[in-house]
Amino acid sequence: MPERLANGLKEKRTELGLTQAELAERVGVTRKTVNTVENGVFTPSALLAIKLARALSVPVEKLFWIER
């Protein structure tokens, strides 16, 4: 069974009342990137994962985890 990087980005973002565009602006990427990460289409680099976690004020391991 292949491993994949799952995330709780959408849940955390909506919990904070942020739109994809607002989160994208905070991180300095396009909305397309936030959307593809949320949908699991794109696996972010460690750099982007940490930036996203920082923007949502959560530890990175709470935002991303390995799913088997």
Partner: protein, 130 residues
């Protein structure tokens, strides 16, 4: 945008191969020069992400992680398409001689078109989901 450019690029090849007999004429030289210029522009666009007339900040934003990943995927598929085209040309050349000029033209066209179409498809999919 990329799909349109890829379509223009590919349709240009149809006129090149349909009028191969007159490539030595001035009109033929124009055709070859147009192909070469468009190839170089498209290669530069693929390599740099385009947006040359925008500010550095906007270019950096447009060239974010997913775009770079899509471009990388485009280059990979372009590389394999070029290898495949070279193998096919090599095989065909055993029966029907193909000039060096045509070989370069075909391989470069296949590589650029495949890279662009792959990049464009991935970008479209990412935008569609957004």
């Amino acid at each position: 945008m990329l799909f349109v450019l890829a379509a223009v690029f590919l349709s240009q090849q149809a006129t090149y191969f349909s009028g191969r007999h007159d490539l030595a004429s001035p009109a033929g030289h124009v055709k070859i020069a147009a192909w070469l210029v468009l190839s170089i522009v498209l290669l530069l666009m693929l390599a740099t992400g385009g947006g040359w007339f925008r500010s550095a900040g906007v270019r950096a934003l447009l060239n974010d992680e997913t775009t770079r990943e899509h471009r990388r995927a485009g280059f990979v598929s372009g590389f394999w398409a070029a290898c495949l085209a070279a193998i096919v040309i090599y095989a065909v050349d055993l029966f029907e001689p193909i000039s060096g000029h045509d070989t370069v033209h075909i391989i470069l066209t296949v590589a650029i078109a495949t890279a662009m179409l792959t990049f464009g498809r991935l970008e479209r999919r990412a935008h569609r989901d957004a």
